[in-house]
């Protein structure tokens, strides 16, 4: 038993040493790992190197408790082998405590306003499954909202997977690819505005041949992601060579998307506090939103028997966040092919299903499958 815990401790010590080397120069992580691996192989310990990298990847993903207890054990061993350095440890302890305090303060700040990397849109398969994208002729594209995040917008902390991952694992969607689009939407610093994001989004879909490779495209958009989607598709509608793309877009599902209506002034006030609208006065923001809605209404109005798509469905939240209903019942029926539906969630929770049994998930799924069936029947 002692031998086992000794070998575990040695493994953890190696892992901490490797992590310390990486922490000192994180931009050269791969080179450090490669050097470490070569050193262990030279020391006839490839198995140890493999085991270290394995436990490193697992502890990084598991609960901290087991890591912390193991770390304590390792620290105890190190101390017992190096007696007579108490003053050094006290000073080190004070330094560590100060760093922890600074770190905690920074963490609190970061949690309120995290520095986000520029997201990379990607297909969703599963962490555990590697399969080539564009296997199917149908694709569902998720577009997150303001202050959202390409992955976490769609994931409840208590759910086992995000909404896109649930779709990727849903047997009823086996003939659909799943793609998440993202853009930088920070609560501080500069970022592209809606028009710029919409142009970039449309350009990427065309560059990646989405409209050639997919017969049926479905958008699930949240909050400002809906405005971006509307803006992009309206742009297509304005250009002869791109207008046919709209018939590939079989349905748009808009969840808690700010829309035109009697309360648009309050929405404009809300968005004007957002960096994405930094340079826009509230009155300008109102005009801008109305322009997006007007163009989108034109897209829907121009549909007919020969060009029946895109279908569009709308849902909104009824519960406020911090006492404010971000997107209450603002929708008008001419911008939805069915009566807009209310869900008793707040602006964030409405796109975070707990499971495939969640009512928003089921409602959205039914709309997409309905639109797909309508596509197949030619109606």
């Amino acid at each position: 038993m002692t031998g086992q815990s000794d070998s575990d401790s040695a493994l953890l010590r190696q892992m901490h040493e490797l992590n310390a080397r990486i922490d000192r120069d994180p931009t050269n992580k791969l080179k450090i790992i490669q050097q470490y691996y070569q050193e262990r192989v030279a020391a006839k310990d490839q198995a140890g190197a493999d085991a270290t990298l394995l436990i490193r990847s697992m502890l990084g993903a598991s609960e901290e408790s087991s890591d912390a207890s193991s770390r304590d054990e390792v620290d105890t061993q190190v101390k017992s082998t190096q007696p007579g350095r108490r003053l050094g440890y006290v000073l080190a302890g004070v330094t560590v405590a100060a760093l922890i305090a600074i770190g905690a303060g920074w963490r609190l700040y970061s949690q309120r306003c995290p520095a986000l990397p520029v997201p990379e849109p990607h297909f969703v398969t599963s962490d555990l499954r590697s399969s080539a994208p564009k296997k199917n002729k149908r694709v569902i594209i998720f577009v997150h909202g303001v202050l959202g995040d390409i992955d976490n917008t769609w994931k409840s902390p208590t759910a086992r997977g995000s909404w896109p991952e649930m779709v990727a694992d849903d047997p009823d969607f086996v003939s659909f690819d799943v793609y998440v689009y993202g853009y930088l939407t920070p609560c501080r610093g500069n970022a592209s505005n809606i028009t710029q994001i919409a142009e970039r989004f449309g350009r990427q879909l065309r560059d990646e041949d989405f409209f050639r490779d997919y017969d049926e495209i479905y958008f699930i958009a949240h909050s400002m992601g809906g405005l971006i989607t509307e803006r992009m598709l309206s742009t297509f509608n304005g250009q002869d060579d791109m207008r046919p793309y709209l018939q590939h877009v079989r349905a748009t599902i808009f969840l808690a998307v700010p829309n035109a209506g009697a309360e648009i002034a309050s929405i404009a006030a809300w968005v004007s506090h957002n960096p994405q609208f930094r340079d826009m006065r509230p009155s300008d923001a109102q005009s801008f939103l109305q322009a997006i809605q007007s163009d989108w209404a034109t897209v829907l109005r121009q549909r007919g028997p020969a060009r029946p798509f895109p279908l569009t469905f709308v849902a909104y939240e009824t519960q406020p966040i911090a006492g404010v209903a971000v997107v209450p019942a603002l929708y008008t029926s001419d911008l939805s092919d069915e009566t807009p539906i209310a869900f008793d969630y707040d602006h964030s929770r409405i796109v975070k299903p707990q499971s495939r049994k969640d009512e928003v998930y089921r409602w959205t799924k039914a709309r997409i499958l309905e639109a797909s069936a309508r596509s197949a029947s030619g109606r």
Binding site: K29, Q34, Y37, I55, S57, S62, S66, H122, D127, S130
Partner: protein
Amino acid sequence: MSPISFEDLANKTPRYGDALRALDGWIRAHASVDVINPAALAKELKSFNPLDLAGALGEAEHAGLLERRYKVLTPSGVLDDNEFEDPTKIPETLPDRFNRYFATADADVIPVFRRAALR
């Protein structure tokens, strides 16, 4: 054909017996999964000490039930499709699924496992 079953291996290595049985059950329950990501496995089998799960994976590899490969985590946080025998074989740049190359200098290296019988 594998020379030994997970159950045999669990009986042979009692320290990792429970973890090996859990690993076997997990693999059976995820028939469509062709790559086992240990980090995701640790998340799903939370009741097991990661050290035991790592030991179980290592034992299964040594017994020929699993094969180890190394992958790179892309900037977007998903595993790149390319696989390598060991970390020293990873090049300075790799193509992602859109054939756009990204620098691997600050990318993390993730060991993954494949079922030997499937290869």
